[in-house]
């Protein structure tokens, strides 16, 4: 965790802090609930939880405007909630019901919202990187100042297509922020065993792409970095790389026992660096909120998540006719 801390915490408003707290807490409670539903057999297949990494998407989203696009891998629930997609629709997709964002046909790894400019949800590691560059290409082609946030992990960072995309994004000055969510483990393989240099963002230098590492457990640091990257892209200066150093508390997916790291390592991160606890401390010590205020928010979030869970159970399975719909768009 070598990322620098330059956050001007004093300048952060109460409203901002409360909104980050809320957004991060929603993701965490949602994911905990998803884990529970998986255990009950209501969610099937692969289910990759975002717990621990909440500050990454919440901090990055803080610098977005309407029209900006986002695309990520299969660990996508947090991204969808952070960009304002309805928790009910996301959870119902996890349970494979008709009320899900993809009518139950995509599942946890393949969800989209054209309305919220969320372009997936991609199950092939690294594939979203050129796709994200392509979304940015469309904005540049159309002459607007939208930015595409292209998220991928430290594991995907070793895919060749990432560097094919870096090259073209730099060559064509595409307005894309490559967000490397470095949670230290590519499934079960630690960074040191998979990646030749500790700082992935430095690879951008080979293509002339500016980048930096950010403390991904600190939502304010992420937000500040996001603003800087967004300004760079909106100004037409081409792509930018943010390597957000984060940590996932849970296994790679629900079926991963995570034997490749110690329980102590995870506990230490939870105790000392947790992104939600950090904001909670700021709210309390800054006298922006009382314990009771935060408890009220917790209760509110819990209600939203329970509502989503109920919806995801009550929504019917897709009609059998759905098997043969959405294969082709009408010409």
């Amino acid at each position: 965790m070598a990322a620098k801390k330059t956050t001007k915490k004093a300048n952060v408003s109460k409203e901002e802090l409360l909104s980050y707290y809320r957004d991060m807490l929603l993701i965490r409670r949602f994911e905990e609930k998803a884990g529970q539903l998986y255990g009950m057999g209501l969610i099937g297949g692969f289910c990759h939880l975002y717990i621990g990494q909440e500050a990454v998407v919440v901090g990055l989203e803080a610098a977005t405007k309407e029209g900006d696009k986002r695309i990520t891998s299969y660990r996508d629930h947090g991204h969808m909630l952070a960009c304002g997609m309805d928790p009910k629709g996301v959870m119902a997709e996890l349970t494979g019901r008709e009320g899900g964002y993809s009518k139950g046909k995509g599942g946890s790894m393949h969800m989209f919202s054209k309305e919220k400019h969320f372009y997936g949800g991609h199950g092939i590691v690294g594939a979203q990187v050129p796709l994200g560059a392509g979304l940015a290409f469309s904005d540049k082609y159309n002459g607007n100042d939208n930015v595409t946030f292209t998220y991928f992990g430290d594991g995907a960072a070793n895919q060749g297509q990432v560097y094919e995309a870096f090259n073209m994004a730099a060559l064509w000055d595409l307005p894309v922020i490559f967000v490397i969510e470095n949670n230290e483990y590519a499934m079960g393989t630690a960074m040191a065993r998979s990646t030749s240099t500790p700082d992935i963002y430095t690879r951008g230098a080979a293509f002339g792409i500016k980048g930096e590492a950010v403390d991904g457990m600190d939502v304010l640091a992420v937000k500040e970095a996001s603003e800087k990257a967004v300004a760079h892209c909106r100004a037409g200066k081409g792509p930018y790389i943010l390597e957000v150093k984060t940590y996932r508390y849970r296994g790679h997916s629900m079926s991963d026992p995570a034997k490749y790291r110690t329980r102590e390592e995870v506990q230490k991160m939870r105790d000392e660096r947790d992104c939600i606890e950090q904001v909670r401390d700021l709210l309390l010590t800054g006298k922006h909120a009382t314990d009771d205020d935060l408890k009220a928010i917790d209760k509110e979030i819990k209600a939203v998540v329970n509502e989503a869970a109920d919806f995801s159970k009550e929504s019917p399975e897709p009609a059998l006719e759905e098997l043969y719909t959405d294969i082709y768009a009408e010409a």
Binding site: I71, Y101, I124, L135, S138, Y141, E164, M168, I327, A331
Partner: protein, 455 residues
């Protein structure tokens, strides 16, 4: 001793060219490496260098001559002291390419010839003017017309812009549409297929050119996982209106890694449309439809067909619908189903068979997905026999699928088993004779038809 200078082959598929310009004249001394002439191939204007030292004794082919066959003597090189007057006009040298010993079909039982019936073009307005056009020009015209029609259409790929296309398909497009819409990419198929797909998600209509579909194997993940499946995975929210196009299948003497026919691979994928035209008119009309289609379309061209000319209707907006087969010959004794360059063998076979009194109906599928099985089945119910023709591998081929469909839908109509003529089950060899053996031939189609008609 006088040496003949022969018309060179300057591309794998070149059979003839234009001797555009002589840069030497009779009496000039040339040495190895000197540029002697400019020669226009079907793809480019090439400089032709001297290999041997000597004096240009006689120029046999005047500059400006078109259609000079490869290996024709174009000049004679003499040594010092020799006289050009002593040279007898040499005959053209035969092609060194080995004529493979392809077995001729067994002699048919003597029978009177039947008439070759070419059905009228039903969908064209009466009196439509036709213009002889190469497949290459037809493809270019289709892209240009669609780019004029919609600003969202753009072309990207290797060498499509400044080089004017590796096979000259995009000739002139950069000049007309500029670098914003005709984009040279680095050699990075996986990456630019992904960028193109992302741009289509973003609302544009990309045409992604692969220099050959052999190279698209690097990009096939995006074609299938990203482009073809997203509409379904998004519950109908997000389509991918993109065309992946380029030459597919065998050209000439380019070996195993440059000769693969991917028709059956892509035709298997729900969410993709797959087009494989034969004629220039279809190349144009189908490509225009493919560009307008809201779905990802894999458009498989053929390098050997690029230079071939066909009549193309002169219409402001000539389109051919995807998913509709074309009947090139109507017949009564057998149905021959093919697509792409396989149509060349199918039509040649039909003409030969007519001489032997066998009336073949020839169907060009044109689109492999969705496949126009109703047209095939209707024909088979009439002829009771079917032969399929393609250059791809035999296992799980397009022909295998057609054969299974006929078994399921028209079994009682069959008077003989369906025969699938395909490429052989081997990686493409380089040697000319082996390459010829590896591909299907007109003779094989004739033989297959005679087998199913018990002649």
């Amino acid at each position: 001793m006088a040496t003949e200078i022969l018309m060179p082959a300057l591309s794998p598929t070149m059979e003839e060219g234009t001797l555009a310009k002589w840069l030497v004249k009779e009496g000039d001394t040339v040495s190895s490496g000197d540029i002697m002439a400019e020669i226009e191939t079907d793809k480019a204007t090439m400089e032709f260098e001297a290999v041997d030292e000597g004096i240009i004794g006689k120029i046999l082919i005047a500059e400006g001559t078109e259609g000079v066959a490869v290996n024709t003597a174009i000049a004679v090189l003499i040594e010092e002291g020799e006289s050009a007057d002593d040279i007898a006009a040499p005959a053209s040298a035969p092609s060194p390419a080995a004529e493979a010993a392809v077995a001729e079909a067994p002699a048919a039982v003597a029978r009177g010839p039947v008439e070759v019936v070419i059905p009228a073009e039903a969908d064209l307005p009466e009196g439509t003017e036709m213009k002889s056009t190469t497949v290459r020009e037809a493809l270019r015209d289709a892209m240009a017309e669609e780019m004029r029609r919609t600003p969202e259409v753009f072309l990207m790929g290797e060498e499509v812009a400044e080089y004017q296309g590796a096979y000259k398909i995009s000739q002139g497009l950069l000049d007309e549409f500029g670098a914003k819409r005709v984009i040279d990419t680095p050699i990075t198929e996986h990456g630019f297929a992904g960028i193109g797909t992302g741009a289509a998600f973003g609302g544009l209509n990309p045409i992604v050119e692969f220099m050959t579909f052999n190279f698209a194997m690097q990009a096939i993940d995006h074609i299938i996982n990203s482009a073809a499946k997203t509409l379904y995975m998004s519950g109908g929210q997000m389509g991918c209106p993109i065309v992946f196009r380029g030459p597919n299948g065998a050209a000439a003497r380019v070996g195993a890694q440059h000769s693969h026919d991917y028709a059956a691979w892509y035709a298997q994928i729900p969410g993709l449309k797959v087009v494989m035209p034969y004629s220039a008119a279809d190349a144009k009309g189908l490509l225009k439809s493919a560009i307008r289609d809201p779905n990802p379309v894999v458009f498989l061209e053929n390098e050997i067909l690029y230079g071939q000319s066909f009549d193309v209707p002169v219409l402001d907006d000539y389109t051919v619908p995807l998913g509709k087969a074309k009947i090139w010959r109507t017949g009564t004794d057998v149905t021959i189903v093919s697509f792409g360059i396989g149509m060349k063998y199918a039509l040649e076979a039909a003409d030969k068979l007519a001489e032997d009194g066998i009336s073949a109906e020839v169907i060009d599928l044109r689109t492999l997905r969705p496949m126009d099985m109703p047209t095939v089945l209707e024909s088979v119910k009439k002829t009771n026999r079917c032969v399929t023709v393609e250059e791809g591998f035999p296992v799980c081929s397009i022909g295998s699928y057609i054969s299974s469909q006929i078994m399921q839908e028209a079994f009682d109509y069959l008077d003989a088993p369906v025969i699938t003529c395909t490429g052989k089950d081997v990686p493409m060899p380089y040697a000319a004779n082996l390459e010829k053996l590896a591909l299907t031939t007109t003779a094989e189609v004739v033989e297959a038809v005679k087998a199913v008609t018990y002649r």
